[in-house]
């Protein structure tokens, strides 16, 4: 289980509730634009930045925004705007790896548990239940304390904590598919079990899986940023939104934009991903409903 955002959206969606149509609304286009923008920043990084994000100018410490430094500089005279751009990398790729890995593992386990049922299901779901209400960030802090701070170690731990969430959602969706006639037909025809799971059941479950991945992305972005904020992930010199937020908190009195900019980026990216996930879910499930 990663940050609770993921849980909420995922859980709630399975409950009854009236859904508003949001097909093609400007909010979705805006969200896609935000994510695309962050992706470009993450890939190109420092190339886009007007200054070297790590260069310290001790003569230009903590200056307010100007034409040369759009968001001013921080306590070490580093250009905040450039650091915001460079910070997209750790904000994007960690959650991407987590979402992808937990997509694969969660789908396999969820399909298996939902389709097989019985003891396998019981064991997998016990484990999922145990992991369910764990506070992910606290576990990351403990691991960082015992083993040492490391960004990629945190990513790996978050994968382990997120897989149960995916598993639970996919298992639920699989359980709905198993009693359907097409599954029985495939069984009667003697299609091997793994083929039924992957090529017959999974395509019908995939809308949930894809939408879910967006929520996992948003949740792990927020959790990782929290870990960076506490200073237990990346080394302190790295450009990272969470790290910037804690390092520049003292500048709130003089150059508030240095703190506000990374904060806005975290929230904007997370909310865009959550909205896309919600929207995808509505789109894909309403299309799939006719099948």
């Amino acid at each position: 289980m990663t940050a609770n955002t993921v849980l909420v959206l995922g859980e709630e969606r399975q409950e009854a509730g009236v859904r508003r149509r949001r097909a093609g609304s400007p909010i979705i286009w805006l969200s896609l634009l935000v994510v695309a923008g962050v992706l470009v920043m993450a890939v190109l990084g420092a190339i886009l930045a007007p200054h070297n994000p790590s260069a310290q100018h001790l003569a230009l410490i903590d200056v307010t925004p100007s034409g040369a430094h759009w968001l001013g500089t921080d306590a070490l005279g580093r250009d905040v705007f450039s650091r915001v751009i460079a910070g997209a990398r750790t904000a994007f790729f960690g959650p991407l790896v987590i979402a992808a890995a937990s997509f694969v593992l969660g789908n396999l386990l969820g399909l298996f548990a939902g389709y097989r049922g019985g003891l396998a299901d019981a064991i997998i779901m016990r484990w999922v239940d145990f992991m369910w209400a764990l506070p992910a960030l606290v576990i990351l802090i403990v691991v960082a304390g015992a083993v040492g701070s490391s960004y990629w170690l945190a990513v790996v731990v978050l994968i382990v904590l997120t897989v149960p969430f995916d598993t639970r959602v996919i298992r639920g969706a699989t359980l709905e598919q198993v009693p359907r006639p097409y599954v029985e037909a495939a069984k009667t025809l003697g299609v091997p079990r793994w083929k039924i799971m992957l090529f017959h059941v999974w395509p019908n479950v995939s809308p949930v899986a894809v939408a879910n991945t967006c929520l996992v992305f948003a949740g792990s972005l927020v959790t990782l940023a929290g870990l960076e904020f506490l200073g237990l992930g990346l080394p302190p010199a790295s450009p990272d939104w969470g790290l910037m937020l804690s390092q520049n908190e003292a500048l709130l009195f003089t150059n508030p934009l240095a703190t506000i900019a990374p904060a806005v980026m975290i929230v904007l990216t997370a909310i865009a991903m959550n909205l896309i996930g919600d929207w995808l879910y509505e789109q894909l499930t309403s299309r799939g409903a006719g099948r």
Partner: protein, 321 residues
């Protein structure tokens, strides 16, 4: 359900609870061994590495005994709330924790009250005016709240309400109940942002589901006042889903306490955990983690019991946590 059934249920859950605590304590103890480097060096910290200190530590942590014996001796101490001494301060871990516990509890309870009052209130308001502008604003606000981690909310509130308009203090804990209330308002609100959004979304969905039920339509048709329908029929049924998410609310609050205490520089359990992790102060880390684990496990048990008492449809053994 019969009271005997409830008793049986509670006993079974207590057994699971005991098992979980053993597993958690074992993992927590093993943290010492997962940690890279020699155990003596870790436990010594910055203290001088002399034969005498090494001997004292070996005796204190029973390092010359087998692993499982060490665990057993450690666990026996832990049950009596002795977690050793902090590597950083050389104070007993227990006294470090008890010194910081009240602040975190104050903060947690304050946020919990905010979460329940605001979350349920906003969720109900939103569901009763489904589709209206109010509803849309609240749904959008909940989305924003869910995507805003506690530390971002904390820094934002600090900037707006303590630096721009000086309604609240930026730092400090305050002394006395009301002064503390005033000092902890911003942190508590920051902490509650995510959980309020979460509870209001759930309440809204549950209320909308309940509004369409036959018994509500019938109650209205009988001419019961809308206030009575709201309290007796709607809220009672809509609140059951809120109990089921209590585990997530709690874990969200614990994560939030850590972030908010660091954001506002408050000396609570959360900041203790982070300083312990930064300084590799494993005994403190173990103590705080065990405390959090006990809180989570016990709270989940309580939630299950409340859930069973409130909703007679739940049969024993049907729900798992």
């Amino acid at each position: 359900m019969s009271s005997r059934g409830l008793l049986f249920f509670v006993l079974r859950r207590l057994a699971v609870l005991a098992f979980l605590l053993v597993v958690i304590s074992f993992v927590t103890f093993s943290l010492l061994y997962i940690s890279p480097g020699s155990l003596i060096d870790i436990l010594l910290g910055a203290r001088p590495h002399t034969a005498a200190t090494v001997r004292a530590l070996t005796r204190e942590y029973h390092l010359n005994k087998p692993f499982l014996v060490q665990y057993w001796l450690w666990a026996r101490q832990a049950v009596q709330l002795h977690f050793g001494t902090s590597i950083q301060t050389s104070l007993a871990v227990t006294s470090e924790i008890t010194a910081r516990l009240p602040l975190s509890m104050y903060l947690g309870i304050y946020s919990f009250v905010l979460t329940m009052v605001l979350g349920i209130g906003l969720g109900v308001a939103s569901a009763l005016r489904r589709g209206s502008v109010v509803d849309r604003v609240l749904v959008g606000g909940a989305m924003l709240g869910l995507s805003t981690p506690a530390f971002v909310a904390g820094v934002a509130l600090l900037y707006v309400f303590a630096i721009r308009i000086r309604w609240f203090p930026a730092y400090g804990v305050g002394s006395g109940f009301f002064d503390e209330l005033w000092h902890l308002t911003l942190p508590a609100v920051a902490l509650a942002v995510t959980t309020v959004a979460y509870v209001s979304r759930h309440t809204r969905a549950a209320m909308i589901g309940t509004l369409d039920q036959d018994y509500v339509v019938f109650a209205r048709a009988r001419g019961l006042s809308s206030r009575r329908v709201l309290y007796m029929y709607l809220l009672r049924n809509a609140l059951i889903p809120v109990i089921t998410i209590s585990g997530v609310i709690l874990s969200s609050l614990i994560v939030g306490v850590v972030l908010v205490e660091v954001a506002f520089s408050l000396p609570g359990l959360g900041s203790l955990l982070v300083t312990a992790a930064t300084a590799k102060d494993l005994p403190v880390l173990q103590g705080v983690v065990l405390l959090f684990a006990v809180v989570i496990v016990v709270a989940n048990l309580l939630a299950d019991v409340v859930y069973m008492v409130v909703d007679p449809r739940i049969r024993v053994g049907e729900r798992s946590t």
